[in-house]
């Protein structure tokens, strides 16, 4: 198997504000946003990370790109450990991982034309067979935008167009891995299809590995080979997407899948509604983190965190009382 990205037991820890408030209360001085995540992504494969907002999906992406403080664990890219970002030092592996941001317009430099934005990666890494401007033109046609878009500024683009520019920039240096953070959030269904089709087409052309972060399960069902369900900074279940959709083992996965609103007026039965609120990361529940909302929780769940069950390469989950 051609493993591109291997994440092992990754913890991302942010320090909390210190000062008088920390002395007064008994608040912890740090918060673990990603809490022991392991994941493999292979070449040419799409892996979806699913979970509610605040579950640590974006932080995980940032950590892979070296933009979040890794507290423990490792991120290996093509077998090599990825270093954290250091100022003024270009990591040659850095350009092999590309990141697409959630906010399509906001991630483009507002005072630059699209052409300049697309030439940026080549200027930063001083690569490209031809001039950065020519490369920019090539990228525009790659994502199906006409050349005159090169003269526009980000605020003159629609959401879908800005998204295309984002895809073009991410793929500029022909990365091996593309991390897409909510690539379809805020897009209308018709444009959502365009962007996803574009990503799939380019994946086939370039043999990309894609890590897609989303809470849109309809999208995941169509494009993901494998998926991981995140809850409070942990993967509660991960594995083959089709298998998880047809037979979830973790109760949270089951609730999440059943909560997906459908446009079919006759569907919408058999829904599992979770009670209660997502606990704060500052007060991580003891035992299994999901026990406060889990319909199946027993005494054991409040005491000990369940170890990994199942097969890591196929379908694996953390649950004392898995579903059949």
């Amino acid at each position: 198997m051609n493993t591109l990205l291997a994440i092992r037991d990754l913890h991302v820890r942010y320090p909390l504000k210190t000062g008088l408030s920390a002395l007064a209360g008994n608040r912890p001085s740090f918060v673990d946003v990603v809490h022991g995540v392991s994941l493999d992504i292979n070449r040419g494969e799409t892996v979806a990370i699913v979970g509610e907002s605040g579950s640590g999906k974006t932080t995980l992406a940032m950590a892979v790109c070296g933009l979040a403080p890794v507290f423990r664990g490792e991120v290996r890219f093509d077998g090599r450990q990825l270093e954290r970002e250091r100022n003024n030092r270009l990591n040659p592996d850095r350009k092999r991982v590309a990141l697409m941001f959630q906010d399509p317009v906001g991630s483009l430099s507002p005072r630059m034309t699209v052409r300049k934005i697309l030439a940026e990666p080549f200027r930063i890494h001083r690569t490209g067979s031809s001039s950065p401007e020519q490369e920019a033109r090539r990228l525009l046609s790659l994502v199906g935008l006409s050349e005159d878009f090169g003269d526009r500024y980000p605020h003159q683009l629609s959401g879908g167009q800005a998204r295309r520019v984002g895809v073009a920039r991410a793929l500029a240096l022909e990365p091996d891995l593309l991390i897409a953070d909510e690539p379809t959030a805020g897009l209308d269904v018709s444009i959502q299809g365009e962007v996803l089709n574009l990503m799939s087409r380019l994946q086939q052309q370039m043999g990309l590995g894609i890590m897609i972060i989303t809470h849109n399960l309809n999208v995941v069902r169509h494009i993901a080979d494998r998926m991981a369900i995140m809850y409070l900074g942990r993967f509660v279940e991960q594995g083959d997407a089709q298998k998880i959709f047809s037979r979830p083992r973790h109760p949270y996965t089951e609730a999440l899948l059943s909560a997906n609103p459908s446009t079919d007026p006759d569907a919408g039965s058999g829904r599992i509604e979770l009670s209660g609120e997502v606990p704060s990361l500052l007060r991580r529940p003891a035992g299994c983190e999901f026990n406060t909302r889990c319909p199946r929780a027993g005494d054991r769940c409040r005491v000990s965190f369940p170890g990994l069950a199942g097969d890591f390469g196929d379908q694996a989950y953390h649950c004392h009382f898995p579903l059949d």
Partner: protein
Amino acid sequence: MSATAGTVYRIFAGLKKDPLGMAGFVLVSLIVFLAVFAAWLAPYDPLEVDVYNRLASPSFAHWLGTDQLGRDILSRVLYGGQVALRVSLLAISISMAVGLVLGMLAGFGPRWLDRVLVVAFDTVRSFPTIMFALAVVALTGPSLNTVIGVIIVTSIPVYARVVRTQTLALRERDFILAERAMGASTFRILRHHVLPNIIAPLFILASMDVPAVVGMEAGLSFLGLGVSPPTPSWGSILNDGYSYLRNSPWPIIAGGLPLIAVTLGFTFFGESLRDIFDPRLRRKDQ
């Protein structure tokens, strides 16, 4: 560069809709023109003494009259404009450049550097400028360079603070994060992505700062702490005229009017620029 041409076009399109801003722009242009071409426009040598013709009222020979030494006031005002603009141009451009660098360092650099710089800015700002100037002059003696130096030191924190705040706000924006994710160096991010986004407000601030600096120069010169006589300065013209106010009001009027013109011109122009570049701050009229 088409971007520059676009900016110029935008400024003029905006000025067209704002008569006050246009008036400011015309006034500013006029002041700059008069000061730059003072050597050609001035009818007399500003230092030429004519003891038989002291404290003369305006006439065809001396449009604004003469001072207590019989020097032509119009010529002195024109040359004084040169001094005022040289001081403001030098002082503002240097303090803006230094403030820009320090502000971006504070806003983008490590947290300890930010703290050190902020304390430094606050320390400098906590001295009243005039007190600071008095202290420096007491040590070095009055000169134009002292004036410029004092203004630079006290203005740097003003610019640096604005730059720091803007940089801090930009720092967490996605497009900066995107650059970091691509592996761009800090210098590159600051030069290509932070700077273009903060430079416009900075120029607006600078244009509104001109009257303050000109006033500061005039004030220090008035107190005898600025340019040394006989070099003409609006401040020294006022000081000279002050002693003879009972005999002739002309020196005071001639020295005061350009100060008012500079204040109004740059303020109107600066406010208009601000409206053009930042519509959110626009005055409430539709």
